[in-house]
Amino acid sequence: MFACLHGSGNLTALAFEFSPVVERSAPDTVTLDASGLDRLFGLPQDVAAAIARRAAETGVKANLALASNPDVAICAARGFTGIGIVPYGDEAKFLGDLPLELLGPSPELLETLERWGIRRFRELAALPPLGIAERLGPEGLRLRELARGEAERKLTPLEEPARFEDAIELEYPVDLLEPLAFLLARLLNGLCTRLATRALATDELRLRLQLEGRAAHERKLRLPVPSLDSKAFLKLLQLDLAAHRPGAPVVHVWMGMNPVKPRFAQSGLFIPAAPEPVKLELTLARIKAIVGEDRVGSPELLDTHRPDAFRILNRGQTGRSPLNQGGQDQGQTDLSTRRKKHALGQIRLSLALRVFRPPRAARVAVTSGRPGFVAANGIRGKVLDLAGPWRTSGDWWTSDPWSRDEWDIALSDGAVYRLYCEPRGWFVEGSYD
């Protein structure tokens, strides 16, 4: 069964409320596949009444026709005002009085039919098909089929706007995260299923919790790669909500997902294993819950000579994507170059510094302008060897300039340290190890 709406207003939205298969037949005409609606509403009259009621509620002014094929429904909706239900098998009889202009023939064909005195559906339907084929060609035959209500075709469905959102109105406020997790799981499963049916995934989750007292608590989770793992999403949301708790009981939950195409990566025998992106995201979320949000990521040196200048990049942050899968060729080149240098003895290992964060304030006895004895938290000894000073400064053109004299010192406690002197005093920056 097909239904056609012909008129003004948001016909498409109304049609999508009743069926996922909707065709925009003309700017003022929308046809929908109404099969199955009888199970919801009952007889065709009841289906028509339900659509008409909803049209009145949404302010749509349109003729409505129900028929066994889409073209009959379109002709009936265009030809009759109000609600029309075309009985199965009586299509030709029902449409018989309608003018031929409704079929949209070409002006030449319409003129020819006018000359023959054929103006109504019934008159065209009564003509023999062989004669029409000889005189009017395929278009004439198609018009005859339409006039008889015998044209069979499939609808050309409109794409439903891809909005993946869902909400739950709670009967009573929820103030614990555990019961909330059940609701989140329900929403996540539904949305993930909807995405999966369209072969899509998501790279962003949006959660809006309406709290008691009209306040809203919004969270947004961005994923480094598109995924559909609802269990991982739930765990991520739980960890995020545990870190950022809503301030009041929740009365309404809304969730939205950003639909994107899933990313497929071809694995290879010789590509080193890397953590699964979603699993890694989950692991990082768990670690962040322990050590803190800004303490996990890939380091990046800043473009400055200021000592200990770096920043931590989170996954997915702009600039570059840490721990990504790319750069395989570069890695192979790096490794082969490294191996060659090793073989030639050209790779020199660097002496690493262990940094004290924050630097340890030190009391330094200066002899002949050089440190002679150093005492700081956990460090105490006579200077046995030293190199320096290395005088560095920078950012003098900004409001935060820095300058220091660095010394490398070997103390009698057995370790080698980096010591520096700046206007605030002496500090031990770290130990060479």
Partner: protein, 236 residues
């Protein structure tokens, strides 16, 4: 007759005299450490096992760790550094050739128990080529408080995975849980000006340099002790 052989005889007699075939544990895959001298002495680092690097302050432990990280990231493996004392210096690591786009740095803010939890989570997460836990500045008493059960748990977690689990500390803590134990000791520090070594008797002038450090790495486990020496360059 050794204990193992005696036990075997006993089992065989209990099971009706059938000869038992001991299932040999497959040898772990070894990966280069990035220091050829150490690889020659130890055969590399075993995957799926716990390797312990220990030594006093300024014994070259961190330089060895950074060299291992540089080699692993050059192999395109994803590495994680769990830094209990927040002591990692990105500038030194960059100079050693560590690729930061393959490195995850977890700063635990002077909390050894957080480091253990983070390392456990990373190993359970899987996919890492190397997970290094740096307890190098953690006080010896605190590191000793980590129970053997925790080390055993880590060892079990990393077993049958392609991950190299590495710890750096002042003393050996993992004991029997470690498959490879490397002890670092400083052989000497080289000071000198540009092209002019200075004697210790005379304080270096302003042009003096910390030219480098000679480090001796001794294998304490498994097998007979073996040692290697490598040199790390300092300021240039």
């Amino acid at each position: 007759m050794s204990n193992a052989a005696g036990l075997k005889k006993q089992f065989e007699s209990v099971l009706g005299g059938e000869a038992l075939e001991w299932q040999a544990r497959p040898a772990p895959e070894m990966v280069p450490s990035g220091v050829p001298e150490v690889d020659r002495a130890t055969g590399g680092l075993p995957r799926g096992c716990l390797t312990e690097i220990f030594g006093a302050a300024s014994s070259g432990r961190t330089s060895l760790l950074v060299a291992i990280l540089a080699e692993a990231t050059a192999r395109e493996e994803v590495c994680a550094l769990v830094d209990a004392e927040d002591a990692f210096d990105p500038a030194s690591a960059a100079a050693a050739g560590v690729r930061f786009d393959r490195l995850l740095w977890v700063r635990c803010g002077h909390r050894a128990e957080w480091a253990l939890k983070a390392a456990d989570l990373l190993i359970q997460g899987g996919g890492f080529g190397l997970v290094a836990m740096d307890l190098g500045d953690t006080p010896v008493e605190m590191a000793r408080r980590i129970s053997l059960t925790s080390w055993f748990r880590l060892r079990r977690a990393v077993e049958h995975t392609p991950t190299v689990l590495l710890t750096v500390a002042r003393r050996s803590n993992a004991k029997t849980c470690a498959s490879l134990m490397l002890e670092c000791a400083r052989e000497g520090v080289e000071w000198g000006g540009p092209g002019r070594p200075l004697s210790r008797a005379r304080l270096p002038s302003c042009s003096a340099l910390l030219r480098g450090m000679r480090v001796q790495v001794a294998r304490r486990k498994p097998g007979r002790a073996a040692a290697a020496t490598f040199y790390c360059t300092g300021r240039e």
